[in-house]
Symmetry: C2
Subunit: 363 residues, 2 copies
DNA sequence: TTGTACGCGTTATCAT
DNA sequence: ATGATAACGCGTACAA
């Protein structure tokens, strides 16, 4: 076992108090000779301070939690990396909590983080938007209500919680204007001359999905175009792929805009695999600007994930009452190679007829 | 503040002992009436058991750490997800530790996890292979030696450490045969009739890089081909892109094999952007089989990341002396659309001349 | 400058 | 079935 402070003190012939003062950065004066003796003894027994005990007495756990949908999703991975970068530099530990967006799992993790007295928790993703009224009974509060209550309880204990997207509970926010971001990308696509543009949504009931869809609809309306070709999606590659497969049998649209990059990439690669020329025949755009999007040269809009994660972590560490109000970071349109000006229908080249075996490899 | 056990006990008019027994899953008998009183009091004060205090007395922190290069890298993300999935189900917390493969950072994190008395730590990535001899002095032990020592110290404290790739220190291993995996993909590409095949390596000095390169070279030798077109890479998209850019000015090779999927995707998309037909003119293959690879239909070989993470975590949780020897999981060749039989040189279609502005957007 | 002693919130042992 | 009480490992007033 790693020697305890008591053991180090004994070997150095001093009290645990002095040993403690010498071993950690205490401003308390300690004679150089003793200090050296203690350092030596500590090295001998392989002393490793118990962060657990320290946390118990100090009431500072040096732990922060990041609640994400799925760490494999680049969107969440980049947020987590931002948070971890600042946490690490401060000697803090970062806990990843995958919830697959299940409110029950979010709740369970929030409570667990509460138990560990995490100093802060970051809700990386958006939340469920209130379902139809009357769904909550007094006996069995809705999941949303339970979560709100838990968040309140956690905050009452001094744990800082910050959300990176719209949530139903009260907390500090470091967000981005999803609606505006979606509005901008849509306007951009329309400005390219496209008139028939489809949309692939995010998961139903998710605040982020709703905001992005609203942005799309508003932009289409402002452009005097019809926004009725809306396909349900799930923010993942598969959704995009399925929509693309459905699209390909009929007359192609001018453009497809997706609620996020992953689904956009699904549309993009599937359409191309079917022999469709992108952006020649169809323009494709996403939203997020993950690393992968650069790989495939996808037109998208940046909604700084890394920065939001980093800022959130910073807010948690800066114990100061810098309860600075909410932050909404600017987004940025990133035009790339999957969008282009509309070509007159006649000039579209003939599509090669590939037998479409949906190459959906099960995971 | 979250009420303490003492407070709950006081309000319920019982001792902390009974309160403790009633609130957590103790097999100790407690009368139903008292049990109810305690539950009520606990709810009133919003009791949240201090996992910190529990860990201190129980000597079980219910924490596991995963040391990765970069959580945004799908390779590491999938491993982490595997570990977190089993950890969560057991009520454990998973800590992500990004090191960017810097030994110093690995060391720092290992010590921190030691301080927190993590029950186990998973080294997800490969390690530096011993540098030239004589680099370590007695006064300043090499980083490798320091790490080995730290690992030993950690293990002496009962912390289970398992590595998912070749490392210089002693620990349990849940790996894959990187050399064989690389050998197999190379053989496959050669079997397609390709003769001039280039290779893009991983970071120099990394055990994984070395094993994969060795596999490539062995397979080429066995195929009676020359393996001298080896380009240095870093396991990332940029490396692949740069190699592709260099390749494109001269007569194209028959195929390019990359040490991992990320760099393969760099080669793939850059080559295509330059107007090269893949797999018509050049075949491209990677190694890992990350999610993204399915997106771009990349030929690769699966070296189960998720499973390795999950198995490693399981080993840590199963306190049993199932010190079962090392595990090496099978890999699996995954032929997809970026490779094809070699076409006679003459039939390669003319490449369109795109002005190559290296669209390398700085991150 | 150094030492003593208490408390942090739990679990577990031993009485009752 | 329930209650005192001693650890667990450490920080820190307070005393010396």
């Amino acid at each position: 076992m790693a020697g305890s402070l008591a053991e180090v003190a004994r070997r150095a012939g001093v009290s645990v108090a002095t040993a403690s003062r010498a071993l950690n950065g205490s401003r308390h004066p300690v004679s150089d000779e003793i200090r050296e003796r203690i350092a030596l003894a500590a090295a001998e027994v392989g002393y490793a301070p118990s962060a657990i005990a320290q946390a118990l007495v100090t009431r500072k756990s040096r732990i922060i939690g990041v609640i994400v949908g799925d760490i494999v999703d680049p969107y969440f991975a980049e947020i987590t990396r931002g948070a971890e970068d600042v946490a690490r530099r401060a000697g803090y530990l970062t806990i990843v909590c995958n919830t697959d967006r299940a409110p029950a799992t979010e709740l369970a993790y929030l409570r667990l983080l509460h138990d560990y007295r995490a100093e802060g928790v970051i809700f990386a993703g958006g939340g469920q938007v209130a379902a139809g009224a009357g769904s909550a009974s007094a006996a069995q509060p809705s999941e949303g209500a339970q979560l709100s209550e838990a968040v309140e309880s956690v905050r009452a204990d001094g744990i800082r919680v910050v959300s990176l997207a719209a949530r139903s509970f009260d907390s500090m926010r470091v967000t981005v204007d999803d609606r505006a971001a979606s509005y901008d990308i849509t306007s951009y696509v329309c400005s390219l001359g496209h008139r028939r543009v489809c949309y692939v949504t995010g998961p139903p009931g998710l605040s982020t999905s709703a905001a992005r869809l609203a942005g799309f609809q508003a932009a289409m309306a402002d452009a005097g175009l019809s926004a009725d070709e809306v396909h349900p999606g799930e923010f993942d590659f598969l959704s995009g792929q399925q929509v693309a497969l459905r699209l390909v049998g009929r007359p192609l649209p001018d453009a497809v805009i997706c609620a996020n990059d992953e689904s956009a990439i699904g549309v993009l690669t599937t359409l191309r695999q079917a022999g469709v020329d992108i952006p020649g025949e169809v323009s494709v755009a996403g939203l997020d600007d993950t690393r992968v999007s650069r790989f495939v040269d996808l037109t998208t809009v940046s909604v700084p994930m890394y920065e939001r994660g980093a800022i959130a972590a910073r807010h948690i560490l800066d114990a100061g009452p810098s309860a600075a109000g909410d932050l909404v970071l600017p987004h940025r349109l990133v035009p790339r190679g999957t969008t282009a000006r509309r070509r007159s229908s006649g000039s579209k080249r003939q599509r090669r007829e590939t037998p479409l075996t949906a190459a959906t490899e099960a995971r």
